[in-house]
Symmetry: C3
Subunit: 355 residues, 3 copies
């Protein structure tokens, strides 16, 4: 049984960090197997087009901007941001009716450009509210991007099972062995899977300890993660030294891990993080995002790549994984995502038959 | 529908520029998926053999010359230019009857070694007359070679539709926008497709202007191209400032673009050019061929490679290209070549059935 | 007909040179398509495990040793040398019954770790006696290893037909043209193929000549090689200047060439050599193994790689090789090995049907 090659289409995928795309350059990224060109109109509106001229299939992103239009690098057909051909320098300049480029709806939120790759009407209800990222000063939030040559579900597995933290990562986010023995509380909706761990450690994680009332003292902490189809995990981690059970006034960090498959074996991995402490220190902010990027790239990265190499194109469950208490959340995600993909495919078949 | 993997066999392909092959070295090139060794006998006669010892399949081109024969690098079986084994150092020296290497007919003309890869009798009528290349001084003609990791039909498309010139190439051969609006005149025979553009521009293309009576004045120009199966395009470009319609006495350049598939995704691209002006200047000749080589490698090359990457192994027409007036000639070539390949395959099946 | 992708399972393959594996590091090697981890327990006992955690398929060899156990690099499941999970840091620490890793029997002999990849009971009778390697001082024996990106049978072909020596290798082991004309004597058993050449040359091979009574005089020599399934060739070469027919008191060299397929197109090539002269000179010993390694890597290597490239994934016999007297031994090996693989596969099918 080989790896699923289809992706969930009716979902918002991060196409780019907002700052990756500007009003000057033509930006290219492969998304769900398709070449996509993204750029901003003069008024800043981002647009996404199939990065393939319908004439002879040259990538439009190798072309030139002509105002808000793009001129193909090969024979200079020109297209506007709606994918319509606006200029044909050949012959009498007649524009064939078929001279159109597919466009993809984009929404700019939370510092990302989110793309809708389905032919169905885009459904903004399917883009969760991550507005916490936008609340607070600019020096308290950061974004990063990396490309990993692995199937995206291996990255979801990685984040959905935080029990790897003490074994893979270093001192800075260690739970001092407290996390692994905890079985997370699971919450489910028809389209989401969440998990929550609460524990006590001394001192708190080093990302919090220096900023707590008693840096060396014990702290109560939690991780709370929620998966949203098809490949976004919102993770909150917090620490407090207040008595009781709640986390009001806790130091926290609100992260987004979101994966966009380039193809079945390559994934765009985006990460964003907002914190409610040391919010005004731009230098700290830079160091922090660089450290997190390095942790993914240097610590998780080699592992998921090695797992991918070992799995080849085999389907995860076909290899009979030995599953344990720490696998509840990632396995629920795999099964729910699988069901959603199959249901979407079935709907498409029924819709096609009805025509 | 995936890319056609078969090639037209009954055709002459450029195997090498004449100067690539000498009486000392054993030259290797992959042609239509086959390893071919080419070398010259002591009297200069070029020979082409399957570059594979029939014993244990070592490439003979890794071996040594022994007079006009070649000794296999592995166990020293020796073969002559007719592919016959002439020496077996093993046992009693008996030469097995099967110890033969396929040979391929070669013809040396126009500065190229042309190879015939079909098992049918080679037909010299199928090698067009490009003798214009041989007329004039040595300093008025030049050849070059490059390897492009693309299907050869993408290179034919490129040359058969010269409307790309103003959009892809630089100042030196610009038509100042005159070419694209022209719909070329098409001429057809059962085995060739030709196209001709005539226009006026001021000044003439920079390859001509400095050598014209009035360098800054208007000139009449033409491009005339003819495709010959399976992958050669003869292109003439000319400019004149004489009144009237003819081009007698015009400055011109006579080029040959000829492609030899190594395999479906790799192509040997050969180019030759002869001009009727500045014919005695060897330094200019060098600069000119270097500039043309650079244009193909640096300007057309990235585009056809990007198109190949975008098309993958899909057949051109299966991707529903939007075709325009400038596509008439290349589309006619694709269709005619496709018909010739299918007819040749059908003949082979009929011939096999008749045996 | 494409290359056989199955391997003989009931056989001992060299997994590593003994010195490649120690009590500190976790050693990885791909064998018959499987990832294998090898390490030594504190008492020196070598163990081999499937290099894949049964939980999420991370390579255990990227993990850490914990005494005689190994901790997975991803979620820290711990396994002992018998492949049994001994520690689960997650939840209540329950160890699932399925939390086991396949192990592979290892035998350490003749300076190698030999691995048994079949699920059948390991049969030590199938490991031939190469104890000559262990007889004599340490400075008279050496081992080396290289990886060649070729099918292992091409390396067996190479060694089983020594007629290539005068044509591929340099002065140091030349037979001065004496070997090729000899047809070797073949000896066969149901599971082995041997070949022997005897001849006279002057002077002896340079590996012997300087150590003979009369360095420049004629010498009698022999090569004797025996193939053992699936990929080991024991080669003895000797030289004497005594009258008569025997080789008592001759200078000799006793070599082992043993191949372990990583996969159908990549082979671990191990070599060991023992000599009965200059046995106490460690510096000479170093130079000698380095020279032999270089001969395989620089002289045989490029040839077998070129042959592999030319053959692609085609089966050897499907290409209709022209076979000669020097091919008797290697062809007998190919046919016997093929029969053994087919018989083993048939037995497996019968056994499965009987269950």
């Amino acid at each position: 049984m080989t790896l699923r090659e289809s992706f969930l289409k009716k979902a918002w995928y991060a196409a780019a960090i907002s700052t990756e795309v500007d009003e000057i350059q033509l930006f290219h990224r492969k998304i769900l197997g398709k070449s996509v060109m993204i750029y901003r109109l003069a008024d800043g509106t981002p647009v996404a087009l199939h990065d393939r001229c319908p004439h002879r299939f040259a990538p439009l992103s190798m072309g030139k901007r002509v105002g808000d239009d793009v001129s193909c690098p090969y024979h200079a057909l020109r297209f506007n941001g709606q994918g319509q051909c606006t200029h044909n320098p050949h012959g009498k300049g007649h524009i064939p009716q078929a001279a159109k480029v597919d466009t993809f709806p984009l929404v700019e939120r939370y510092g990302f450009l989110w793309i809708w790759m389905s032919e169905a009407t885009p459904d903004l209800e399917l883009l969760p509210d991550y507005s916490r990222l936008e609340q607070g000063p600019e020096t308290g939030v950061a974004w990063t991007y990396m490309n990993l040559p692995v199937n995206y579900e291996l990255i979801i597995d990685n984040v959905m099972d935080l029990s790897h933290i003490d074994h893979v990562h270093g001192e800075i986010i260690t739970t001092r062995g407290q996390l692994s023995p905890k079985v997370p509380q699971i919450r489910e909706t028809p389209t989401t899977i969440s998990a929550r761990w609460e524990w006590t450690q001394q001192p708190a994680m080093m990302i919090f300890a220096p900023f707590m009332p008693q840096p060396q003292a014990e702290a109560r902490q939690f991780f709370d993660i929620s998966w949203y189809a098809s490949a976004t995990i919102q993770l909150t981690v917090a620490a407090t030294q207040e008595d009781g059970e709640g986390f009001e006034g806790a130091l926290d960090q609100y992260d987004l891990h979101t994966c966009t498959p380039a193809d079945p074996f390559n994934t765009h991995y985006f990460f964003a993080t907002r914190r409610n402490h040391v919010e005004e220190d731009g230098e700290y902010n830079q160091l922090k995002i660089a450290a997190m990027h390095a942790a993914f790239e240097d610590e998780d990265g080699p592992l998921v790549k090695a797992v991918q190499a070992e799995m080849g194109d085999a389907d995860f469950f076909s290899l009979d994984p030995v599953l344990m208490s720490n696998d509840v959340a990632p396995v629920k995600v795999r099964k729910l995502l699988d069901r959603m993909i199959r249901e979407e495919a079935a709907e498409a078949i029924i819709a096609a038959a009805a025509q």
